[in-house]
């Protein structure tokens, strides 16, 4: 998204992805943060707690006794009109599951950095996307970050998206556990004042603390209204897809960045393409460059937003491609491939001149994916392009059979 410094006055600091997110949170200075430690998210809450201890933010922190209570406290805090954040990973997200749905259906603009980690069992602390992919139907906006810089910027953008009056939905800002969260990179930090100005003041429409106009949050909702309220949630997500580009444009204009719903890398004349989220997109870019040197017309599509799903943009990006592979860092047992694969396959259904499409499951539980693995996928795509034959619709990449 951003390879060179746009503004020479900005600081470049060596930070891990977790620290970069904590830095974004320092600049956002939310009213309330309720969080619980879990690897590999812990450094976010630890670093932020130090900012609180040093008086660098005005935030009230709630050191809750579980993630379930973290999200529960966030719901109460956000309903009271406070700008509210939390952060989690894997089992922590799973424990707050019930309230994750309630936060979205109550239309509370909570921002939650999620450091992607494999869900138990067996227990594992390393990266895959099973945690947030499992929550894809919860009604949260989901944005995936490739590196610490993107994690930092996406956290800031998320505040404006969540609080947009025509959206009002919570946002998960995802980054890859350890690979990004604990990988140190130079991160360009924008000035505090510019961030403060960009995010602005948050004013809730109906606060629980407005004692003169008492409001009831969370009533029982039965057969006669529940369905309409769920429809409204679907409409909010449709509205998010329409309104997110405007927020990104404003961010780009202010900070000289190039945020978008998806990133296309060397796709203009690409005949074969890989679609993949987060840090693996960075590795894939290297492979694309190498293949391009050999004259292979390879490209990459990196969906940045997974919810709302930018269907039209992805379909358009794939329109000239002959063969494409979707790489999923999570499985959907019993389905035909991972969640990203099935989503893209379904998106292409109405399209004429569809590319051949195959899926790969990779990297579960933090299994490394190497450039040669990705090159192997491009080789498969070249073969499919030439022969018009798909041998394996879904392949498990880098696993011992």
């Amino acid at each position: 998204m951003k390879t060179v410094t746009k503004n020479s006055t900005n600081k470049i600091v060596a930070l891990m992805g977790d620290q970069a997110v904590a830095e974004a949170m320092r600049q956002i200075d939310p009213d309330v943060v309720a969080a619980y430690p879990i690897t590999p998210q812990t450094e976010i809450v630890m670093n932020f707690a130090q900012f609180v201890a040093d008086g660098k933010v005005n935030t009230e922190m709630i050191p809750v006794e579980s993630e379930h209570s973290a999200m529960s406290a966030c719901v109460g805090s956000a309903a009271a009109g406070a700008r509210t954040m939390t952060a989690t990973s894997a089992n922590g997200l799973a424990l707050m599951w019930e309230i994750v749905y309630i936060a979205a259906s109550t239309r509370l603009p909570i921002v939650m950095p999620v450091v992607n980690r494999a869900l138990s069992g067996p227990i594992n602390i390393h990266c895959d996307h099973s945690d947030t992919m499992g929550a894809r139907d919860a009604g949260w906006i989901q944005v995936f970050s490739e590196n610490p810089q993107e994690a930092y910027e996406n956290t800031i953008v998320a505040v404006r998206i969540a609080e947009h009056k025509d959206i009002l939905l919570p946002v998960m800002v995802c980054q890859d556990g350890f690979i990004t969260s604990h990988g140190v990179e130079g991160v360009e930090i924008f000035p505090d004042e510019a961030i403060k100005k960009f995010i602005g003041e948050y004013k809730i429409e109906r606060s629980l603390l407005d004692v003169d106009k008492p409001v009831t949050y969370g009533p029982l909702d039965l057969q006669d209204y529940y369905f309409e309220h769920k429809r409204q949630q679907a409409q909010a997500m449709e509205s998010a897809l329409k309104n997110i580009p405007g927020v990104l444009k404003e961010f780009n204009k202010t900070f000289g960045t190039s945020h978008d719903l998806i990133e296309e890398y060397k796709m203009d004349d690409a005949e074969i393409a890989i679609v993949v989220l987060s840090s693996t997109a960075g590795t894939t870019k290297e492979v694309v460059d190498k293949l391009r040197e050999k004259g292979v017309k390879a490209g990459l599509i990196k969906p940045i937003f997974f919810r709302p799903f930018p269907k039209e943009r992805i379909v358009k990006a794939l329109s000239g491609v002959k063969a494409a592979a979707v790489l999923d860092r999570s499985d959907s047992f019993g389905a035909e491939g991972g969640p990203l694969f099935t989503e893209i396959k379904s998106s292409l259904y109405e399209t004429k001149n569809k590319p051949f499409l195959v899926g790969y499951i990779f990297g579960l539980g933090g299994r490394d994916i190497f450039p040669q693995d990705i090159e192997h996928v491009y080789n498969d795509l070249e073969a499919i392009k030439k022969t018009g034959k798909i041998n394996n619709l879904v392949t498990y990449l880098g696993v011992r059979d």
């Binding site: 309720a34 009230e60 406290a73 719901v75 109460g76 309630i102 603390l209 009831t216 949050y217």
Partner: protein, 308 residues
């Protein structure tokens, strides 16, 4: 001490028209507790009878800000509200003094919500937690909970040919909460309005967490005529089945003590849930229950002495 004339001037925060049963202890408890302060109050409710019967969309019986989130998390939810209030007050965005109260049933407090409640007490939020205790999961149809007394017949621990109902003792939640060393902990009962309102006033007045375990009867689950709620509640107090105690800054005391405790059988007998205990074969269970009550009473007497 509460003055009934002054109390009558406090506007009803839980208004009429809700769908709780006639003779339901939960609404009596909620209304009395909310008379404990003349400051604005934000109410949190756990999933349960009080919640489902007071807020069926698009209606609400709450004439005060109200939030329901889920079953096990009312304490965590209200801790978020209270923290947001502190944050916004610090920034000058709110200047009113607002009180916070969480209502959970015994299921939402003794069992599924115990962790969230304990966490909120330990963190020291300035709020009142009310357990409206009807001694079973009444909302889902009278299932046993950690508050269900020994010998009671419920739908998940029913009395039968080889069972006398719940074989275990009820949990002593009030002592568990007192062990958190919060400023105010009490037990009260809906039959004693002065006791309950006075305790609520104290609970709202202290800085930090306060807890009241209120015996709030359910005639559906306890199986007695709905007109007898207060009568049976009084028997719970007069038999020592429900001791009226409070713990102020670690000091235990009885706020009411019957001159002579009636036999617990007087409280058990009018209730359908204990009917089987009066059969000859369950005589020993009845005796055990009396012994349990006596032992708990003695334990409390010793606590009062030890902390006085």
């Amino acid at each position: 001490m509460a003055n009934i004339k002054q109390l009558s001037k406090i506007p009803e925060r839980l208004t009429s028209g809700h769908r709780l049963c006639p003779g339901c202890g939960a609404s009596i408890a909620a209304r009395m507790v909310l008379m404990g302060t003349d400051k604005p109050v934000v109410v949190g409710a756990a999933t349960g009878c009080l919640e489902v019967a007071t807020t069926i969309y698009p209606y609400t019986a709450w004439n005060t800000p109200y939030i329901h989130n889920a079953f096990e998390n009312v304490a965590a939810t209200i801790s978020g509200v209270e923290t947001a209030y502190n944050a916004l007050k610090k920034k000058g965005k709110i200047n009113k003094e607002i009180k916070f109260v969480a209502f959970g049933g015994d299921g939402g407090s003794y069992d599924i919500g115990l962790q969230a409640m304990s966490g909120a007490f330990e963190r020291g939020h300035n709020f009142v937690y009310i357990c409206y205790n009807n001694e079973a999961y009444e909302n889902t149809g009278i299932q046993r909970s950690g508050a269900t007394p020994k010998g009671a017949s419920t739908t998940t621990a029913p009395a039968g040919k080889i069972s006398y109902g719940k074989p275990q003792l009820r949990k002593d939640l009030t002592s568990i909460v007192a062990a958190h060393n919060i400023p105010y902990v009490a037990q009260s009962c809906i039959s004693h309005w002065n006791d309950l309102v006075t305790k609520s006033q104290k609970a709202f007045a202290v800085e930090g967490p306060a807890f009241i375990n209120v015996l709030a009867l359910c005639h559906r689950g306890w199986r007695y005529p709905q007109s007898d709620t207060i009568k049976i509640a009084k028997l719970a107090v007069e038999t020592g089945y429900w001791p009226m105690i409070e713990v102020e800054n670690g000091k235990w005391r009885f706020t009411y003590k019957p001159k002579t405790r009636k036999p617990v059988a007087d409280f058990l007998k009018p209730q359908g849930r204990f009917k089987h205990l009066f059969k000859e074969e369950n005589k020993s269970v009845l005796e055990e229950i009396q012994q349990d009550i006596d032992r708990q009473w003695n334990y409390l007497e010793k606590l009062v002495q030890a902390t006085s």
